[in-house]
């Protein structure tokens, strides 16, 4: 169906939008920047402040965009970043 879909779906606001938080353990970060490069939704950017190790860790600039894909967690060589859900895991409760 090559019909162009241009509208915001009418029920778009009714869909429970899950919120996520990205946790960064600054002191663990080695500043490789993989998470920033790989994030598909541009949630992360380089922080302005150095950590104790002398690296620039990532900082969250656009948390609302996070879709919880977990890519950052997967690529981090030092396990210094992970996302978690802000609200209850059970979606049915939300509804």
């Amino acid at each position: 169906m090559p019909v162009k879909l241009w509208r915001k779906p009418l029920d778009a606001d009714k869909i429970p939008k899950l919120q996520y938080e990205v946790h960064i353990i600054n002191e663990r970060c080695d500043g490789c920047g993989f998470c920033i490069d790989f994030c598909p939704k541009d949630v992360l950017a380089r922080a302005e402040k150095m950590n104790e190790k002398g690296f620039y860790p990532p900082q969250v600039i656009n948390e609302a965009n996070c879709t919880f894909c977990g890519f950052c967690r997967s690529v981090c060589p030092t396990c210094a970043i992970f996302p978690i859900e802000k609200i209850s895991r059970n979606i049915k409760e939300v509804e």
Partner: protein
């Protein structure tokens, strides 16, 4: 293969029987038939010649049969009407008398002679003599042919799972054949599943379609292949080999369609089924009644691109039915018949900036309207306008958006008028206070029960205004819309304020039609839809044997017509498969391996890929079942290695020679293709379009049969002019063979220029079967040219083209 057979035949004495038909006064009125018969008797090989009142009558046929036995005739010529009419009749008579039907030849002295020379009996008679002479000359060289039979696999393939495809598949499956039903979307159902109600009965569309869908899904004879596309087609009538790419659903058969996975999926995207008015998840089922009812993962939307990230659906699925390791597979099917039911696209109104679609929220398309008013749709069946989700107090429908327009499709889309009337009535049924305007240029309520519905809409207070809005403007404050147009009946400009506008968008050929066209060697009409073999008498056949059309693939049509056509196509396919075999007209080429240089020119021009040349093993083979007999290869072959059966070089040259034997300097040698230009000449005859008597027509199956050497031969024999006529480009009955005609004629023109011969003396004409006048005026034009050709010029031309 029957070469030994034919040699023995040709070694015996040739005895031709000629029958000149009066056809009452149709021929006898302007041609002296007795004189023609007498003349025919003097021609070589003619054993008996007589004039008959009605040769096609039972007595006439009996006489022909009796002659064959009494006079030991082995060739028959009948000079009467067009072979397109009675050739089968006389061929049967010959067969009944024990004569191979390919030993029969016809001279068309009615449509091509008596009817177009009503007032010149003398010239008409002379022309008739020539036509008979040509037929006799060809007849002497005719060979008996054996028609080959090809087995037909009793399996069918239906492409497209819309209502037409479903109906065709069910009909064939119920008859007992194995059917593969292929659909590129995740579910069958097509457009009809998207529509809310059907006209004129106001039945709920999905309610009547869903049982059919599940029947098709459950049927033991139907194998459903959804999310699948055809990638390759090989073979020919009765024996197609089709490769199908089955995309991965990433969901196994264990799926119970509980929907837990979809609820868990974090991705939301617009749902294609609801035209983007509602959302779906990356794992989804397009609509509740979908068949098959399993879920599918759209990999483009899914976050799990590398097997390590999101696994919410896998966790949610209790039956472990999600498997990301499934890969797409290509399967090969062998089928005997194919039904193309690929449906239609809808017009995209964003190309009309003055209607603001895509910019103004409350301008919607009729397809969006169907989803909006559907109980299963995004608004739960309430008529809510998108901007503020309220019921609009006024709705306008604009007709012919993208139809009957060069901005969309030139043709009428057939369904929009009634669809709008149905929609208007639906609104009136639930929200009678809503004011409805319909802006139209013509309301076409032509079908059974349509006019009643139209009348009902008027009774219900729907306001019909003739004249389309020129412009839709939005009031930013209220999101209401102003329509500005001219009421062409009152000649006044209207400015009307409405809450919502529905654009009645037209139907268009599928964007990917060209792929199907290429795969199945179909042809397409100028409007882009697939073309049928004959618009009146073979409306669901295609020019490719064993392939049939159903539904909107052939032209825009409504559900009833689609179902009718689907059943018709199924029935046509059934005829082939029930017989289990098909005979192929013996007009295909026979390769002469000794002459063949394996240059592969023939394979390049063959529209059907029906010639296999194996240079290494020195094999050239014609797949008779795939070949349609256009003769393009024969004309292309530089080394006489392909003999076009029943239209051999010798036979055609004999006809040319017969024409040019006397008074060649006054004659036009014409080559007409069987389907369009010969039929155009017939039509000119039927319409009694009077023409000069210069032209002598040689019939070939396709204009692409006309080799340059035929044209050269005609000029070398002193012909004043040559006409090559064929179907319009893109209308060719052999896909695109006539592009070769064009190429050859253009090449010959250059040759003429080089040799100092006037180009006007060779003409190329494209004429469809209905363009009799076009043909006749060409003949008149060329007759004028003939007058200007001096005898010195002819001498020069003869010299230029005479073989050294």
């Amino acid at each position: 293969m029957e070469s030994s057979n034919s040699k023995s035949e040709s070694s015996e004495e040739i005895r031709i029987g000629v029958n000149v038909c009066h056809c009452g006064l149709n021929i006898g009125g302007s041609v002296n038939c007795d004189e023609v018969a007498e003349y025919a008797a003097s021609l070589p090989h003619v054993a008996i010649s007589r004039a008959l009142r009605y040769s096609c009558s039972d007595q006439g046929q009996e006489l022909i049969k009796k002659d064959i036995l009494d006079y030991k005739l082995n060739r028959i010529v009948v000079a009467s009407c067009t072979p397109r009419l009675h050739e089968p009749t006389f061929r049967r008579a010959c067969e009944e008398a024990g004569l191979n039907k390919y030993l029969f030849e016809m001279a068309n002295i009615r449509e091509h002679c008596s009817w177009i020379h009503l007032h010149d009996r003398e010239a008409g008679t002379e022309k008739a003599k020539d036509l008979v002479k040509m037929a006799v000359a060809k007849a002497a060289l005719l060979e008996p042919q054996e028609e080959r039979e090809v087995p037909i696999l009793r399996k069918a393939l239906v492409i497209g799972g819309g209502v037409a495809g479903i109906q065709a598949a069910l009909d064939l499956a119920d008859t007992g054949y194995r059917v593969y039903l292929i659909e590129k979307e995740p579910s069958i159902g097509g457009r009809m599943a998207q529509i809310d109600k059907t006209y004129p009965t106001m039945d709920c569309s999905i309610c009547i379609l869903a049982p059919k869908m599940s029947d098709a899904g459950r049927h033991p004879n139907i194998e459903l292949l959804t999310a699948s596309e055809i990638v390759e087609v090989k073979g020919y009538i009765g024996n197609f080999r089709v490769k199908v790419l089955k995309k991965s659903r990433y969901v196994t058969k264990d799926c119970s369609a509980c929907g837990d996975c979809s609820t868990a999926c974090p991705v939301t995207v617009p749902n294609e089924f609801d035209v983007g008015l509602a959302t779906r998840h990356a794992i989804y089922t397009p609509f509740p009644q979908a068949v098959p009812s399993t879920y599918i993962i759209n990999k483009e939307n899914c976050l799990n691109t590398n097997f390590i990230v999101c696994d919410k659906c896998i966790v949610a699925c209790e039956r472990n039915a999600i498997d990301f390791t499934i890969i797409p597979e290509t399967i090969e099917l062998e089928v005997g018949t194919i039904i193309v039911a690929t449906g239609a696209d809808v017009f995209d109104p964003t190309v009309l900036p003055n209607y603001g679609y895509g910019k103004f929220l409350n301008v919607i398309t009729s397809l969006e309207f169907e989803r909006l008013i559907n109980a299963g749709g995004p608004s739960g069946g309430k008529l809510l306008r998108p901007s503020d989700m309220t019921i609009p107090d006024t709705i306008a429908f604009i007709q012919c958006v993208g139809s009957r327009s060069e901005k969309g499709t030139d043709s009428c889309s057939n369904v929009c008028c009634m669809n709008t009337i149905k929609d208007a009535l639906l609104i009136k049924e639930h929200w009678p206070e809503v004011k409805i305007y319909v802006f139209y240029i013509d309301i076409r309520a032509f079908g059974k029960g349509f006019e009643d519905l139209f009348r009902r809409a008027k009774e219900e207070g729907v306001i019909f205004i003739r004249g389309l809005p020129a412009e839709i403007l939005e009031d930013r404050k209220t999101n209401n819309l102003w329509l500005i147009g001219e009421n062409t009946l009152s000649r006044e400009i209207y400015k009307i304020n409405v809450g919502m506008v529905t654009l009645s968008i037209g139907l268009e050929p599928r964007e990917d039609s060209n792929i199907i066209q290429r795969l199945f060697t179909l042809s397409r009409a100028p409007d882009g839809y697939f073309m049928e073999a004959h618009p009146k008498l073979r409306p669901v056949d295609t020019p490719t044997g064993g392939v049939f059309l159903a539904g909107c693939a052939e032209s825009a049509k409504d559900i009833k017509d689609s179902v009718t056509q689907a059943s018709a196509a199924a029935s046509r396919a059934n005829i082939l498969m029930a017989q289990g075999k098909v005979t192929i007209e013996a007009i295909t080429p026979t390769p002469i391996i000794d002459n063949c240089k394996f240059c592969e020119l023939c394979t390049k021009v063959c529209p059907y890929n029906a010639i296999l040349v194996d240079r290494e093993n020195k094999i050239t083979e014609v797949i008779e079942a795939a070949c349609a007999g256009c003769g393009n290869c024969g004309a292309e072959c530089p080394s006489d290695a392909l003999i076009m059966r029943h239209f051999t070089d010798e036979q055609i040259i004999a006809q040319i020679d017969a024409i040019t034997e006397q008074d060649a300097n006054m004659k036009i040698v014409a080559f007409c293709c069987n389907w369009c230009s010969y039929a155009a000449a017939d039509f000119a005859g039927v319409s009694r379009m009077q023409q000069p008597t210069n032209i002598r027509i040689i019939r070939t199956m396709c204009s692409a049969r006309v080799s340059e050497k035929f044209i050269a031969r005609a000029f070398a024999r002193g012909a004043a002019a040559v006409l090559v006529a064929g179907c319009h480009l893109n209308d060719c009955h052999y896909i695109d063979a006539n592009y070769q005609t064009k190429k050859r004629v253009e090449r010959f023109w250059r040759r003429m220029e080089r040799r100092g011969v006037r180009k006007e003396r060779l003409q190329l004409l494209w004429a469809s079967a209905a363009e009799g006048e076009r043909f006749a005026s060409k003949v008149r034009e060329m007759a004028e040219t003939v007058k200007n050709v001096s005898s010195e010029e002819i001498q020069k031309t003869v010299k230029a083209f005479k073989k050294r």
